[in-house]
């Protein structure tokens, strides 16, 4: 498991510079993502960026700070506020052999480009055979008091559009390796960066320009024999915190980080449940028809004989993400909720 440091402070946007690796070589998730983009742009002339305020301003979260000075405005293209056209242009440029990476200021705004994403981008290859090397990336998820339009976790919207790969890493190394893999992939990939993680989590991250993490593979972030927690993004960190606390009670939790939700690593999920016989599916998109609903169904159908207890889903209720701290905390699963669920399941 990677070493992590939890930093104080919310994942802000706007004024703060992106920052640098620490003296010991640790990188935040934000820096790891910027490094992935930078290295791929250095490696392959066909890679270019487009999006709103990504040039001189450096992007809403400063991912592309300094890029325009190195790569110029043709490869770091500022666009007007035209989400449909950003996606459509990325598709057209990819059809002609370029490898565009489009930034959304917030993953919430992918809904403004939804038709181009789910109808055009996702379905084009299946109907034509044309490779579509496009990456759409954007900050996803809540937990930073950003309210309804800046906290959405759109994993299920996108995973329900056949043809897309949907990637949602939880750690800096995975973020870097998976983004590099996505840029090299000939399929349209949506890369969801959890904004709660951006500046909060850091770890040692490879500087090898050929470091990639395979898309579609989950990863065990903590070994355990008693209960499996299947999670992604910010929820992985909450699960790890709960697992740490529960270890002192003698409950060993296994934390499986999906890293990619489409395609889903069914094999890894089933292997973990075969070991623990108990599963909690912890996810940040709405409980109703969310990614975890699919995971729970998979476990119930394919691992029924391994199970010693029902599969439990922990996820937000089916309402928009609320603003007030008391409401947002009630909305998002909390570490204490996870601990309670694990205890109940262990006692089954």
């Amino acid at each position: 498991m990677a070493t992590t440091t939890v930093e104080a402070g919310a994942a802000g946007h706007g004024a703060e510079p992106r920052g640098r690796r620490s003296e010991t070589g640790e990188a935040t998730y934000l820096i790891a993502i910027a490094e992935a983009l930078w290295e791929e742009m250095e490696r392959d002339e066909r890679v270019f960026l487009l999006g709103e305020d990504i040039g001189a301003y450096g992007g809403a979260f400063k991912v592309t700070e300094g890029f325009i000075e190195r790569f110029g405005p043709e490869r770091v293209m500022d666009t007007p506020i035209v989400e449909e056209t950003i996606v459509g242009m990325a598709l057209g440029a990819a059809m002609e052999g370029l490898r565009p990476v489009a930034e959304f200021q917030y993953a919430d705004f992918m809904s403004s480009g939804y038709d181009e994403i789910t109808t055009a981008l996702a379905r084009y290859h299946y109907r034509s055979g044309v490779p579509i090397p496009v990456v759409l990336r954007g900050p996803s998820g809540g937990g930073v008091r950003a309210s309804s339009f800046h906290s959405t976790n759109p994993e299920p919207w996108l995973s329900h559009a056949p043809g897309l790969k949907v990637i949602c890493p939880a750690f800096p190394s995975d973020a870097k390796g998976l983004l590099k893999a996505a840029i090299r992939d000939d399929n349209p990939c949506v890369f969801l960066e959890h904004k709660w993680i951006y500046r909060r989590i850091k770890e040692a991250v490879s500087e090898d320009p050929n470091f990639v993490v395979p898309i579609g593979k989950a990863d065990v972030k903590r070994d355990g024999r008693d209960v499996t927690i299947v999670a992604s993004g910010m929820m992985v960190h909450l699960a790890l915190e709960a697992a740490q606390a529960l270890a002192s009670e003698g409950i060993e939790v296994e934390v499986l980080d999906l890293r990619t939700v489409q395609p889903l690593d069914e094999e890894a999920i089933l292997a973990s449940v075969a070991k623990t016989s108990r599963a909690i599916v912890l996810y940040e998109s709405h409980r109703f028809l969310g990614i975890g609903a699919e995971v729970a169904s998979l476990i119930a159908q394919e691992a029924f004989e391994s199970l010693d207890a029902p599969v439990v889903r922990l996820a937000p209720p089916n309402v928009p993400v609320p603003f007030s701290p008391s409401l947002e905390d009630a909305y998002l699963p909390q570490v204490s909720d996870i601990e309670d669920a694990v205890r109940k399941l262990s006692a089954w």
Binding site: M95, E96, L98
Partner: protein, 354 residues
């Protein structure tokens, strides 16, 4: 207020629009092929012999053939389901087009889509059509952006109907194309109705072409009953884009003679209007008459063209019906590049008997 393109590379007094005799004959063949195909496919549809849907482009061949003929092979075309005639002009193989209509493996989408939701990007640089209009307008911007980045003198042309000009993407794409001065030609096939909704219930300005002024690009309005007028305007716009002059909006006026789709009797079109267009503004008949008057073709030449058209259709029909259906087990293949479904069998092959 519409802007005229100055200067025009093709002199307006040149009745041939700079085309050779062979090219004029080729245009006549294409016009007649597209008309004949449209009529025969509708007949087969009404006889219950054609599965799926049809979206007739009849009466609009002047637009379709005229604009697509102005493109080079390496230029790209982003049409709609109404614009199959433009795709045939760009070079699609009629046999494979017909295989698509019957859902066969040899169709361009290998049975993954039907009817005029077709395209051939690898061969003829045409977009595989989608229904959500104008979904391909932004995509044309991206292709054009790539041409500029790669330093190649190619042009992207997109077509949509009057109906799609009310959609936000139409305006986004025009704005962005002018902002970046992209090599794009925007064609609007204004056939006076968006499904059943007439122009006056679609937009509050007299013409679509004048909207170009809002985006800082030239806008031209063409009566599309004469294919050479359309070709001239398209040629000028395409060459202007190729030379770095940026995008142009071309509004081509015609009437959709048939319903929105095969099921629609189009009773909302006044009979007098339809009669006027069918009698006096038929682009196929007008072009044939022009070539006869100018003595480019005689009666026998026309008969030969019509015979070629019939033979091409019959060959396409036989090919389509003898082509296999896709393997049912392949339904999940080719979603991603990863399984090599499209790479291993480029375009055709395999399948089960129909």
């Amino acid at each position: 207020m519409t802007t005229k393109l100055e200067p025009k590379p093709i002199a307006p007094e040149d009745w041939r629009a700079g085309l050779s005799e062979d090219q004029l004959k080729e245009l006549l063949y294409l016009l007649k092929l597209c008309r004949y195909f449209d009529e025969r496919m509708e007949a087969l549809y009404r006889q219950g012999r054609l599965p799926g849907a049809i979206y007739s482009g009849r009466g609009q061949e002047g637009t379709h053939v005229g604009v697509a003929y102005a493109l080079r092979d390496e230029d790209s075309l982003f049409p709609t389901h109404r614009d199959l005639s433009a795709q045939l002009t760009k070079g699609l193989d009629l046999q494979r087009v017909m295989a698509q209509f019957w859902g066969r493996i040899d169709g361009y989408t290998r049975g993954r889509d039907g009817n005029s939701h077709i395209g051939d990007w690898h061969g003829n640089r045409t977009w595989t059509v989608m229904s959500h209009l104008p979904i391909a307008y932004p995509v044309a911007c991206g292709a054009a952006l790539a041409y500029r980045r790669k330093g190649v003198p190619n042009v992207a042309m997109a077509i949509c109907g009057d109906g799609a000009t009310s959609n936000g993407r139409w305006h986004e794409a025009l704005n962005v194309s002018a902002l970046y001065r992209l090599p794009v030609v925007w064609v609007v096939n204004n056939n006076l109705y968006a499904y059943s909704t007439p122009n006056e219930l679609e937009f509050p300005v007299p013409t679509i072409a004048e909207r170009a002024a809002a985006y800082g690009m030239p806008g031209v309005r063409i009566d599309a009953q004469d294919v050479l007028d359309v070709y001239r305007a398209a040629h000028d716009a395409v060459e202007r884009a190729r030379e770095g002059g940026g995008p142009t909006l071309i509004e081509c006026l015609s009437l959709r003679w048939r319903g929105h789709a095969g099921h629609d009797p189009a009773k909302y079109v006044p009979k007098e209007l339809l009669d006027e267009f069918m009698t006096n503004k038929d682009p196929v008949r007008r072009f044939e008459e022009l070539l006869r008057t100018r003595e480019v073709v005689n009666e026998q030449d026309v008969a030969e063209v019509e015979e070629r058209v019939r033979a091409a259709f019959e060959a396409g029909y036989e090919y389509a019906l003898s082509s296999p259906l896709p393997e049912p087990g392949d339904v999940t293949k080719g979603l991603y590049v990863d399984d090599g479904y499209w790479a291993s069998e480029p375009g055709r092959g395999g399948g089960i008997p129909a």
